[in-house]
C-alpha cells in the first residue's frame, strides 16, 4: 500500500445554495503527480483550497501529510521584493544564514536566473516570474506542491517550455504535486494520473494513468491518446476519434 500524502474522503461543499462537491473522495500518494482537469467553474481551484485548508468542507474529511505550498494562478510574487528576496520567503524556517544563502543560490541556479537575483518581478518576463514562483514554492522542506493553473497566463510557446522546466525541477527536487489545469495537453504531458472532474456538483468522471517518464514529447502517441481520452470524457470529442490511428 502506497503512502497517502493527501486525501479527501466523502467531502461535500456548498456555497450558499450552490453545491460544488457532493461526496467526493480522492487520494494522492507520496511523490505522485496528479493533474485535475474539468470544465470551467467545476471546482478545481476549490479542491486545491480544500487541500491547503484555506477552506473547510461542509462535511467529510481532509487529510494532508507534509508541508504544503501553493503556486497561484495570478502573479503572487511580492512586487516590492527582488527575485532573491521572494525566493528567500520559502527558506524562512532556516535559521542558519549561510545555509539559507547556499540554498537560495541553488534555487537560483535551478531556475537559471542567477543573473536576475536583484531584479524585481515587474522587470522579468511572464515565464521568468513563473519560474521564480516555482522556486519559492520548492524552497525549503516542502513536501506537497499545489499548482493552480500556474502557466495559464503565459503564451503557448512559453507554456510548452515551462512544462519541461517543471519536469526538470521536479526531477531534481521530487515532490508530491497536484496540478489544476484547464490545459489538457499540459495534464497529459506532465501527470502520472489525470483526474477528470464533471461539471458542478463535481464528481470524478474518470482517472487516467500515464507511465511514461517525464519530460514527454507533446506529440508522443501516448500523450496524444491521453489528450483524446480526456477530451472525450469532457464531451468535447467523440469516442470514435480514439480509433483514429496515430501516425
Amino acid at each position: 500500500m502506497k503512502d497517502k500524502a493527501l486525501f479527501v474522503e466523502d467531502a461535500s461543499l456548498s456555497f450558499d445554495a450552490i453545491a460544488v462537491f457532493q461526496h467526493l473522495s480522492l487520494e494522492i500518494f507520496r511523490s505522485e503527480f496528479v493533474a485535475v482537469v474539468g470544465p470551467s467553474g467545476c471546482g478545481k481551484t476549490t479542491l486545491l483550497n480544500l487541500f491547503s485548508r484555506f477552506i473547510r468542507p461542509s462535511q467529510g474529511k481532509i487529510g494532508c501529510d507534509g508541508r504544503v505550498r501553493m503556486v497561484y494562478q495570478h502573479d503572487s510574487l511580492f512586487p516590492w521584493q527582488t527575485v532573491a528576496e521572494n525566493i528567500a520567503l520559502g527558506l524562512r524556517q532556516l535559521k542558519d544564514q549561510a545555509e539559507r544563502r547556499r540554498q537560495l543560490d541553488d534555487l537560483l541556479r535551478l531556475i537559471n536566473l542567477e543573473k536576475f537575483c536583484d531584479h524585481y518581478p515587474h522587470q522579468l518576463s511572464g515565464g521568468m516570474r513563473q519560474r521564480v514562483e516555482l522556486a519559492r514554492a520548492l524552497a525549503g522542506d516542502t513536501d506537497i506542491l499545489l499548482l493552480d493553473e500556474p502557466f495559464s497566463s503565459l503564451d503557448y510557446l512559453t507554456r510548452l517550455r515551462m512544462r519541461n522546466e517543471l519536469a526538470r525541477m521536479l526531477a531534481q527536487r521530487p515532490r508530491t504535486v497536484v496540478l489544476v489545469t484547464h490545459d489538457i495537453e499540459e495534464a497529459a504531458q506532465l501527470a502520472d494520473r489525470i483526474v477528470v472532474l464533471s461539471a458542478r456538483p463535481a464528481r470524478i468522471c474518470c482517472e487516467l494513468k500515464m507511465d511514461l517518464p517525464r519530460p514527454r514529447e507533446l506529440t508522443h502517441p501516448q500523450v496524444v491518446d491521453t489528450t483524446h481520452r480526456i477530451l472525450a470524457e469532457l464531451g468535447l470529442e467523440h469516442e470514435e476519434s480514439l480509433a483514429i490511428p496515430v501516425v
Binding site: 484555506f54 503572487s76 516590492w80 520567503l89 524562512r92 524585481y120 515587474h122
Partner: protein, 243 residues
C-alpha cells in the same frame, strides 16, 4: 528653461511697453530689487522658516494620524461604512471655511495655521490609504499565510509595502494642498510667513514684494514636490510606477 526665459522676456516687454501702470505691474528688475531687499533684511528667511515649520508640522501630523486611520478603516468594512460619509463630508469642506474657528480656538500664529493644514491634508490621506489597502490583491495575504507571517509581519512586510506607491502619490498631492493652505491661512490668521508677507505687501501697495513672495511660494511648492518625488525612486516602491 527656455519657457522660463520666454516668460521673463514677455514680462519685461509688457512692463517696458507699459501695458499696465508700473504701480500695478512691477518690472522684473523691481521684483529682483525687492527680493534683495527682503533677503538682506532677513524677513524673507523668517517668513520662509515660519511657513515651512507650519506646513511640515501640519503635514507630518496628518500623515502620522491619517495613514494609521486609513489602514484601520481599510481592513474593517463595518467601521469604514460608518466613518466614510463623515470623512467624505470633511474632505469636501474647504479647509479655509475653518479659518474663523481656527482663530477663535487657537488665536493668531502657528497653531491655527497648523490646524488648517491638518484639516486640509488629513482626510485626503485617509481616503487614499483606505483605497490603497482595498486594492491590495488578496493573493498577497494568502502567500503571507502560506509562509507563516505573523500579524505584525503582515502589516510591515505586506500591507505597508503594498500600499506605499499609492500613498506616496497621495502624499505628493496633499503636500501641494498643504502648501496652498498655509499661504491662504497666513494671509488671515498669521503674523509671519510667506502668506502674511504677500498680504502685507498688498496692504502696503508694494507690488514688487508681492510678486517676489508669489515667486518664492511657487518655487518652494515645486521644491517640496521634488523632495517627495525622491520617495518614488526608492527601489522597493518603483514597481508601483513602472509596471
Amino acid at each position: 528653461m527656455l519657457v522660463l526665459f520666454a516668460a521673463l522676456l514677455i514680462w519685461s516687454a509688457l512692463s517696458l511697453l507699459k501695458v499696465f501702470p508700473e504701480s500695478v505691474f512691477p518690472s522684473p528688475l523691481a521684483v529682483a530689487k525687492g527680493f534683495v531687499e527682503e533677503a538682506s533684511n532677513g524677513r524673507l528667511v523668517d517668513d520662509l522658516v515660519a511657513s515651512l515649520f507650519r506646513v511640515t508640522t501640519g503635514f507630518a501630523l496628518s500623515v502620522f494620524s491619517g495613514v494609521p486611520v486609513g489602514l484601520w478603516l481599510g481592513r474593517h468594512a463595518r467601521a469604514r461604512a460608518a466613518f466614510l460619509p463623515a470623512i467624505n463630508f470633511f474632505r469636501n469642506l474647504s479647509p479655509l471655511a475653518w479659518i474663523p474657528f481656527a482663530i477663535l480656538w487657537f488665536g493668531i500664529g502657528d497653531l491655527p495655521t497648523i490646524f488648517l493644514i491638518f484639516m486640509a491634508a488629513f482626510f485626503p490621506i485617509v481616503i487614499a490609504t483606505i483605497a490603497a489597502v482595498a486594492n491590495i490583491p488578496s493573493v498577497y495575504f494568502r502567500v503571507a499565510h502560506d509562509y507563516g507571517f505573523s500579524n505584525n509581519e503582515i502589516l510591515t512586510r505586506v500591507t505597508l509595502p503594498a500600499i506605499a506607491p499609492q500613498v506616496i502619490t497621495a502624499l505628493r498631492v496633499t503636500a501641494g494642498l498643504a502648501w496652498l493652505v498655509v499661504v491662504a491661512a497666513e494671509m488671515i490668521a498669521g503674523r509671519a510667513g510667506l502668506g502674511f508677507a504677500v498680504w502685507d505687501a498688498r496692504n502696503g501697495l508694494r507690488m514688487d514684494l508681492l510678486v517676489c513672495g508669489m515667486i518664492v511660494i511657487g518655487v518652494i511648492g515645486v521644491v517640496i514636490d521634488r523632495v517627495l518625488l525622491q520617495l518614488t525612486k526608492i527601489s522597493s516602491v518603483r514597481w508601483g510606477y513602472e509596471r
